[in-house]
């Protein structure tokens, strides 16, 4: 079935507009979340290490688990950014 030419053009235009609109909103959600998630990953990683040091092992391991889990937290933050950029690259295709 043939669409009239003008209608076909209009349809593709509205599709593109719709796609751009979707991109703006989901970008807004992703980016407004990413900075906070990065910072919180570091804090939560350190908090878990601190809890293990002071509450679970009673201070015998004291600075070490905190430092190790701080490293895990930083890595978790970077992993979040990596996943995000991969998802965005996939969406752009």
């Amino acid at each position: 079935m043939h669409l009239p030419r003008r209608r076909a053009i209009k349809l593709t235009q509205s599709n593109r507009e719709r796609k751009e609109e979707k991109g703006i909103l989901s970008d807004l959600a992703n980016y407004s979340q990413s900075g906070m998630t990065f910072a919180l990953s570091v804090v939560i990683g350190f908090g878990m290490g601190w809890y293990l040091d002071n509450k679970v092992f009673g201070g015998r391991t004291t600075p070490w688990l905190s430092f190790i889990f701080l490293g895990f937290g930083i890595l978790a933050g970077f992993k979040h950014l990596w996943d995000l950029s991969q998802r965005i690259a996939k969406d752009d295709d």
């Binding site: 407004s32 998630t37 919180l40 990953s41 939560i44 878990m48 889990f69 978790a76 933050g77």
Partner: protein, 240 residues
């Protein structure tokens, strides 16, 4: 932040119920009459009563009330369908649309003098976030069975224990950031409005902030629901 006047608290006081002066009450009855809870119930009652009144009987040719709801529900459905596909959107529509309408209304009600936003209390936002967090993990298990653990172990088997810790931290960060962002934005709006009303309310200084408040309310509602959609989609798709 102590609001100048809260109508529901005033009415409750007048009836003779105890209203807590701080953010958290002592006894059970005081806990039940905390302002953020009473205003949350007001919004729930509003959402029950107003659609009943405006919709009445569904008609083929919609009147004004039915038109509004049809536009809202249809628009939301299309919006979700764009992000997760029509079928999944239909499955998750009740919970997501409820969140959206409730959050936007809860954010907006704080713009009226004498009302407060329930979402400016961390209790409400954390409760909603826990629901979203549990929902997306339950969906993951529903869609993948026990193989859902592959989402957390990464592609390389040797790295698995390491990746599980990272994913654990990332999941907690999700839980905290989703609730804190909504809470922080709305609390900031409420405090700013309260301070401006007290200081320079006579010369309409809070007006620009009220306009911004409408914008922030809508955007935060959309962002919360959209992040819920993104998490659910991530849990339902195959592990990379």
């Amino acid at each position: 932040m102590e609001h100048p006047i809260l109508f529901i608290s005033v009415i409750l006081n007048w009836i003779g119920l105890p209203v807590p002066h701080g953010p958290i009450g002592g006894t059970l009855l005081e806990k039940l009459t905390e302002p953020y809870l009473t205003y949350s119930w007001l919004i729930m009652a509003f959402l029950f009563v107003v659609p009943k009144l405006t919709l009445g009987k569904l008609e083929l040719v919609p009147g004004t009330g039915q038109n509004f709801w049809e536009a809202l529900i249809g628009g939301l459905m299309d919006f979700f369908a764009e992000h997760m596909g029509r079928e999944k959107a239909r499955m998750l529509f009740p919970v997501l649309a409820t969140f959206f309408i409730y959050i936007v209304l809860a954010n907006m009600i704080g713009l009226l003098p004498g009302f407060m936003s329930p979402t400016s209390s961390l209790n409400i936002t954390v409760a909603m976030t826990i629901i979203v967090w549990l929902l997306h993990h339950i969906l993951g298990f529903r869609y993948h069975g026990w193989k859902y653990y592959k989402h957390f172990t990464g592609p390389i088997a040797v790295m698995a224990p390491f990746m599980i810790i990272l994913e654990l931290i990332g999941n907690f960060a999700r839980l905290v950031s989703l609730s804190m962002r909504l809470f922080g934005n709305i609390l900031a709006k409420e405090i700013l409005l309260g301070v401006l009303f007290m200081l320079v309310g006579a010369i309409f200084a809070p007006l620009p902030i009220l306009c911004l408040g409408v914008l922030v309310s809508l955007i935060q509602g959309v962002v919360f629901v959209l992040l819920a959609v993104i998490y659910c989609v991530g849990a339902m798709e195959h592990a990379h």
